[in-house]
Amino acid sequence: MTHEQAQELLLDLAYRELEPATAAEVARHAGECATCGPQLQRLTSTRALASALRESAPPRSNRDQLVEAARRAVRARPERRWFARPATLSFGAAAAVALVAFGVTLQLTRPGAHRASDEESAAVSRAAAPALEPRSESAAPAPASSPDLPEAPPALQTAPAAPAPRARPPRPLAPAVEPPRATAAAEPPTAMAAPSSSAAAPEARREASAGPSAAAALPAMPLVDAQRSNAAPTRVRGAAKARASAEDTTSRSGPRAGANLPETASFTAAGFLYRARKERADSGLVLVIEKLRAGDDPGVVASWRADELRGGDALVEASAGDDLRDLRWSDGVLRFTFQRAVGSLACSVSGVESGAPAVTCRASSP
């Protein structure tokens, strides 16, 4: 082992991160080297000094509150909708394949009935289409066709809501406990968006050329940082089935979903209505992203308390099961894209810093 190699590994040796054989080699070198020896001694003695810091125990009451919050969240978890269950989808796919195969068999065994069986097969395929919508586009980033959100007309601006109380102690847990629910919730769910863009930007600048972002490091619940927010979107391929109703403030509200606030924006795709809606809760303004099917309860894809929405370094929970493919900030606009729909919902949040958040949304589809 060369001196340079050993010097690079002194820190690892001091923190016992080396394989035994390598550690022995580095230690042997340090024992003989006039430079590495004192360096290693300095590292280990500084570590010894640092060990003097006492443990800091958080209060016990905090633990009990959190356990209770976890218990309530479990109780309040919505049943996943049948169309969102992977098992259901698999079963549906298998059933559709079987039906198509059956139709083909009929076609082959019934001379002169070719035209009829073609239509039957097509009908079966069409019937299965909503549940079998391919997810091949799931790897694609946000649609390039989604325009940036322009200034919304005054009619769409939600009146500022009272800021959520942040006083302590005791700090109320209840408003932030409930996860997304299928019905209009008086209590907002906990928001995944946390740190602001201001928090992310310097780090992103520092590491801009230095490797993986937090988003890459956290595959299941990625961190959307400034790097990712600025990533160039790619074109979304596939037939444009969606019909957008941008900045919709009409009375078209979903069954049992109608809060007192107007619907903000929606588009339809593959038999579903994708909608951004605002609710008022005790703790403030809540933005709800949901998808509905005619005659069905709305399935909440995600929801956030408006005063916790800030651009930039938002921590995002995305779920294929709930059909939310991606959520990203760009130029102050929060854009939602979906696994099974070509189209997006884009919402801008303002006034958070002043304690009077307002949300404006619009839908877009090719």
Binding site: L11, D12, Y15, E17, R42, T46, R47, A48, L49, A50, S51, A52, L53, R54, E55, S56, A57, P58, P59, N62, L66, V67, A69, A70, A73, V74, R168, R171, A176, V177, P179, P189, T190, A191, M192, A194, P195, S196, S198, A199, A200, E203, R206, E207, A210, G211, P212, A214, A216, A217, L218, P219, A220, L223, D225, D313, E317, A318, G321, D322
Partner: protein, 198 residues
């Protein structure tokens, strides 16, 4: 339950097992709080942030996929919350650390050697004075037991960058403690026991 991995516990909690959540909480609550307290330098604020951190996990748990490390995810959330909080309150005047030292939820034990109390106060000051990127690396590696690779994951930095920050942090701490008269002379040793690692 004790032997379950974090990821197994998360899966159990996803299925509704609140005891699994409690096990996760007991396993990491103190570490997360300790990291936050030393990062933001204020026990009350750290308490708030730790609560936020766990609430975010509760909210995200149904969608968790066990393809990554729960621990690094948790500390990444904590770190981002702390970074954000630190920036939001950067303009505020902080209480001098001389007054906050020893007030981290536990008073110094009666009979604790005076030298130890002084060293802890000096350490608190020195850590608080570290640049943020060095401070987070030092805290995560030194006190929370994350490997350098895990620290790199949490902080979204390259491994060599993390190690470089750690070296700078250790050097800065050493200099600060030396200036405070807390570094023993070569060959000598303080009366207090430094062999116990947290």
């Amino acid at each position: 339950m004790v032997d379950d991995t974090d990821e197994a516990l998360v899966t159990r909690y996803q299925r509704g097992d609140v005891a699994a959540f409690e096990a996760l909480l007991d396993r990491h609550r103190q570490g997360v709080f300790r990291f936050l307290r030393r990062f933001v330098g204020d026990a009350a604020r750290a308490d708030d942030l730790a609560q936020d951190c766990w609430m975010r996990f509760i909210g995200a748990a149904p969608r968790w996929k066990a393809s990554g490390s729960f621990k690094t995810w948790l500390y990444a959330v904590a770190r981002n919350l702390a970074t954000d909080a630190a920036r939001r309150t950067a303009h505020r005047d902080h209480e001098p650390l001389e007054r906050t030292a020893g007030r981290d939820g536990k008073e110094p034990a009666a009979g604790a050697p005076e030298g130890d109390v002084l060293l802890r106060a000096a350490l608190e000051r020195a850590i608080a004075a570290l640049p943020e990127d060095q401070r987070e690396v030092f805290l995560l590696r030194e006190y929370e037991g994350l490997s350098f690779a895990e620290v790199a994951e949490v902080t979204a930095a390259l491994l060599p960058t993390v190690k470089s920050r750690m070296r700078y942090a250790l050097e800065a701490l050493r200099r600060a403690l030396d200036a405070a008269g807390e570094v023993p002379e070569a060959g000598a040793h303080r009366a207090t026991d430094r062999s116990a690692r947290p």
